[in-house]
């Protein structure tokens, strides 16, 4: 066996931690002190709030520049994205603004008319009754118009929001479908799943409701201010000044809250992950006696989440402190200034009534505006994670050269996942057309990496893999797939028809071609028996397939792709031998007449191959047929003896 250059556990003593020295989930500074005076309690609350703020900022920063996983876009990319979406819908935006402005305007006329009603009553005089009736009818007419305009404005907002949303999500999925092959094969899909589910959800809410609502509330607030000024400048100014005084606190809140909510969201997904692990690993928990630990882990997550909740709660309380006063006290001010104005003859009772109605109805849109700004910011954070997907750089540039033959050659291949840590050290392999080559070697020796280079998933750091004289990474993906394929155990069945599931590599395949492929893998019979044949929906939630049928579908895909070379990476999981037996025929139909590179974990695969390459520590140390290697008496021979003795 290979000799280790150095002990991988050499740093063990430095990284091992004593249990008692571990930090608790929630630092003690975040717990309220006991038995202290009210003043100390208050200052302790202040300290805790600042500490929580720091934690939220750190979580947010970490979410913006993840150590691993997919990139996250900048805020200005997000803004440009939204600007682009709005620019494509100029006429809708104009309609949206115009109709909402009209609806809000109509709403603002009503208090004025009510004010005149009050004025008329106060003035008294002859013909008052008829005058009042006319005024009332006028208000009814305005209310009807307002209702109609509200309907139209809401309708256009819905249509606009839904249109924006569907374009945005379709764009995101199309970027996912364009991700570079090399990155897709490498990275874990968990982060991507979170993005297309949770982040799309958050983005949806802000695009569908947040954006139109922010526009509408902004318009209403703006127009209300105008209406108030038109009604009476004297009455409006003090109220507006009071409301504007909350601006400072609102700004403070808006700067902090989104980070708080993002942190909160992440604590809930953490709770969910831990619980999922506990439920799915229930047996492991029981076997190893981990109950207390799992309960403790869940409680810790909740304690951390509670801290995040306390932070946003305090933020909201600080905000409410100010806006409840600033948005509600204008009614008192209106009263006082009004009384003063009436005594001086500057304002009428009707104007006071209208001003009161204006300030009462202004707090709703103002609250909503603050709320929507919140939601928009959280939405922007999610959108930036979604747009990050589009920022993954391409991993290949397709050239125009086309292979002249199916001859696959790898020369002087080196590759590193981490800079400076090559896992292959100048491997060369020349595959004869139609041969079967087995690659064996200990785990971590680089044989899987070699398989990925030979199938064009990744480009080598140095050297080249060519087919018929053309580098694999210089081929367009559509062409590469019909030359070499990496066969994986992932027999994922997509939600879609049987046909959709098979024609992947050549999406314009005829039904005859699909049936031929199904026949080749021995699936024709059961597909014919399906209720709607090739049009039957399969995949999660639809017609269920047995594991063997799912694997046959996977094989039929490869028959359609029809590559001349297959790379089989056989990190065998527990495969049911009975399934394997029924698939034997399907598999040999696929392998027949093709060049095969088998990355073998089981020695029987090697035994049957034409040639065997033994890869150790990133180098091919032995290469030859089974009898040759056995007679060489090297690594392979030793292993074979162990296997067969």
């Amino acid at each position: 066996m290979s000799t280790l250059m150095s002990d991988p556990l050499a740093t063990s003593a430095e990284t091992w931690r004593d249990r008692d020295a571990r930090e608790p989930a929630v630092p003690p500074e975040l717990l309220p002190p006991r038995d202290v005076s009210r003043r100390e309690r208050l200052s302790a609350l202040h300290r805790r709030h600042l500490l929580r703020e720091e934690r939220a900022r750190a979580t947010y920063a970490a979410s913006r520049s993840p150590e691993r996983g997919w990139p996250v876009a900048d805020n200005h990319v997000v803004l440009a994205f939204f600007r682009g979406l709005l620019r494509e819908r100029k006429s809708e935006v104009i309609w949206l603004v115009a109709l909402n402005a009209l609806a809000a305007g109509a709403a603002l006329v009503v208090p004025r008319l009510l004010g005149s009603l009050v004025n008329s009553v106060q003035a008294g005089g002859p013909g008052l009754s008829g005058q009042l009736d006319r005024l009332a009818l006028l208000i009814v007419a305005v209310v009807c118009t307002q209702a109609l305009l509200t309907f139209l404005a809401q309708r256009i907002s819905t249509i606009f929001g839904q249109d924006l949303l569907s374009s945005a999500r379709e764009y995101i999925v199309s970027t996912v479908l364009r991700l570079p092959l090399g990155r897709v094969e490498g990275a874990s899909t968990g982060d991507l799943v979170t993005r297309v589910t949770r982040d799309v959800g958050t983005m949806s809410r802000s695009v569908q409701f947040g954006l139109p609502q922010a526009i509408i509330s902004g318009l209403t607030v703006g127009l209300s201010v105008v209406a108030m000024l038109l009604n009476s400048i004297v009455l409006a100014i003090p109220s507006l000044v009071l409301i504007a005084a909350s601006g400072f606190q609102v700004r403070r809140y808006l700067q902090r809250a989104p980070k708080g909510y993002i942190t909160e969201g992440s604590t809930y997904s953490r709770i969910n992950t831990t619980l999922t692990e506990t439920v799915e690993g229930a047996r492991t928990v029981e076997a190893l006696g981990l109950r207390d630990l799992r309960v403790g882990a869940g409680d810790d997550d909740i304690a951390v989440s509670a801290q995040a909740e306390r932070y946003t709660m305090t933020l909201r309380n600080l905000l409410f402190c100010v806006i409840d006063i600033c948005f509600n006290s204008p009614r008192v001010v209106t009263l006082l200034v009004g009384a003063w104005g009436v005594s001086r003859g500057w304002v009428s009772l009707g104007q006071i009534t209208a001003a009161l109605l204006y300030v009462e109805s202004l707090s709703g849109p103002l609250d909503r505006l603050v709320g929507e700004m919140d939601r928009l910011q959280v939405g922007i954070a999610s959108t930036s994670r979604l747009l990050g997907i589009a920022q993954v750089p391409e991993d290949r540039v397709a050239g125009s050269a086309r292979p002249e033959s199916p001859h696959l050659v790898g020369e002087d291949l080196r590759f590193a996942y981490r800079e400076g840590h090559d896992v292959l050290h100048g491997v060369s392999l020349d595959l004869e057309v139609g041969e079967r080559l087995a690659i064996v070697g200990p785990s971590g020796s680089g044989k899987s990496t070699l398989g990925r280079l030979l199938s064009g998933i990744n480009g080598p750091r140095t050297g080249s893999v060519t087919v018929g004289g053309v580098e694999l990474v210089a081929l367009p993906l559509e062409l590469l797939r019909t030359e070499v394929a990496l066969v994986t155990q992932e027999h994922h069945v997509f939600v879609g028809t049987v046909r959709d599931n098979i024609v992947l590599a050549r999406e314009d395949s005829s039904d005859d071609a699909v049936w031929d492929a199904l026949s080749a893998v021995g699936s024709r019979d059961w597909v014919e028996r399906l209720p709607r044949g090739l049009d039957t929906l399969i995949g999660s939630g639809n017609q269920a397939l047995t594991p063997a049928q799912a694997q046959q579908i996977a094989l039929a895909r490869l028959i359609i792709a029809d590559p001349h070379t297959l790379v089989l990476d056989e990190a065998t999981s527990l495969i049911d031998p009975r399934t394997a037996r029924t698939l034997e025929g399907s598999m040999s139909a696929l392998l027949d007449g093709r060049t095969v590179v088998a990355i073998a974990h089981r020695l029987h695969t090697a035994h049957d191959a034409d040639r065997i390459a033994v890869v150790i520590d990133g180098e091919v140390v032995e290469l030859g047929s089974h009898p040759e290697l056995v007679s060489q008496n090297g690594e392979y021979a030793a292993l074979w003896r162990a296997w067969t003795s």
Binding site: A147, T150, G338
Partner: protein, 635 residues
Amino acid sequence: MRDFPPEISTFYSAAGRKPSAAPDTRTPAAFLRWFLKQQWPVIALSTVVGVLWQLPLTVGPLLFGKAVDHGIVVHSTSGTLFWAGMLLLVTVIGATFGIVLHTLVVRSWLINLYGTMKMVTRKVVQMGHVLPRRTPTGEVLSVASSDSDEFGALTEIIARAGSQVVAYLVVAFIVLTLSPNLGILMLLAAPVLVGAAMPLLKPLHRRQQLERGRNSELTSMATDIVAGLRILRGIGGERTFGRNYDAQSQLARQAGVSAGIWQAAIEAVGVLFSGVFIVLLVWLGTHQVIDGDLTIGQLISFLGYALFMIYPIQTFFELAQKVTRAMVSARKAIVIFEHQPPWPDLETSTPLPEDADLYDVLSGFTAHDGELTIVVSAVPEDTAALADRLGRYLPADTEPVSQELEEGLKGRAARRARAQRLAERARLAALDEELATREWGVRLGGVDLGAASLDDVRRHILVSDTGSQLFAGTLQDAIDPHGRLTRQQAEHAVRVANAEDVYDALPGGWQGLLDERGRGLSGGQRQRVVLARALAVEAPILVLVEPTSAVDAHTEARIAERVAAVRRGRTTVVSTVSPLWLHHADRVVLFEDGKATVDGTHEDLLRDSPAYRRVVARSMDAPVEEVSGHEHTHV
């Protein structure tokens, strides 16, 4: 009064202490009552505070009207100042209690939310491996992730509705004293107004449901695309599935637009009705003013109350909706919480002997004390079933009963389906109990495992099967979850399982972080960490099911040799067909049709048993026959 996060010791409590009383799971309503009973101080206080918070709305218009009548109209500065002062006072009281109320609402909401989550976790560990036999994992999780929120919402709405009732009564009293005619009109008209939108709600809800359905379909399509992304980018099909997604996205858009238009209609109707209502009220009011029955200030007060009346009525409708939703959630929650562990409450348990042979009655299999016994079978299910029996696990052979009914099932059909599920759940529970209480059929030195306490069995026999799972955390926690090992012991376990490369690959060594379920490690790496963890426990009896199935031959050979050496003298059972393990066995037992048929050393059996040769030789020189996955070794 309780604060969040709440302390919970329902269903399970740490080491030795008794769990507290379980919730009432007889009916959804009983469960909700149990829930609310624990919360009543917070709810009561929130109600009182809620009344104070609404003071500006309930007495504000009255005060404003008084200020007009006794201040502005009669040009009395003192009158104006007095009533304006009252108004300011009320505004400040409202704002102050608004903050108290917000704090209380967050508190009661989170007590329920976190409390439910904690109860689910405790139920899961209390039930152990039995729960997945009975209930789909997703439904357990959704009680914690979504139903818990409904229980939070319930306490909030109850407190809010309570304070609105008081506010409504106060306002009713005020308006009736101001003007009986207008007062009665207002009190009657307000419910009618809110009720007028009711006929529109049904079609809206139907469309919203459709929209939700299509959106969740859309989300699962996106998840599906990501799950199969390697295939889509490796083999192709981006256009087909991109197109399918776009088509569904458009369907969801249409459903959203049609729901949105109904929503717009409801809003418009709301604007119309409340507008007309106010005009009507003011118009009648002005006539009363002319007749001298009402002062101008009182008219303005009425104007304010007309705006207010909408809220309590809306709140009552909301209450009805949320109670319904909480009932639905309660039904889901009790299905999880009502499970009881099937294990018998032994009054006298027999202690398990040390140093004894382990015997399985059903298959006739014996593992001799202190030996490495390898079980070989052509059918992996047989050895998996043996491992379950040896460790006293109920087999995972049941179909968990889902409580989700098929879409569109209503009325009688839904009730029937629900009754069926109920019966099926009861059947499973009875079956579990039957299996768990009768003689188990595996004996350790003559003592049936069923006569010993379950804790004793778990201490003696550790089964590490193919479903063994890693948990998120540091590598140190993964190898030594209990914190019992010295560094040297942990290093030793890692070396025996040949998992040094995992240590090397993780930045931070022992403190390197594993993702949930060990995702991010290759299948082989995961398997070796699981093995190291199992070895480190140093269980008297260790049962390993296919411990190296995802590991290459080089490594497997090393592991087999080291495990055999380190377990020497202690009972170890391994199920595998790999020759690299077999020649380390003290004894090999062949399983055919679920029975132990032949036993002996690997060499003996190869020589003497044609059946054994068939099973083992198959793994030695069968052709390539598997579509196999690849092992990613990523750092």
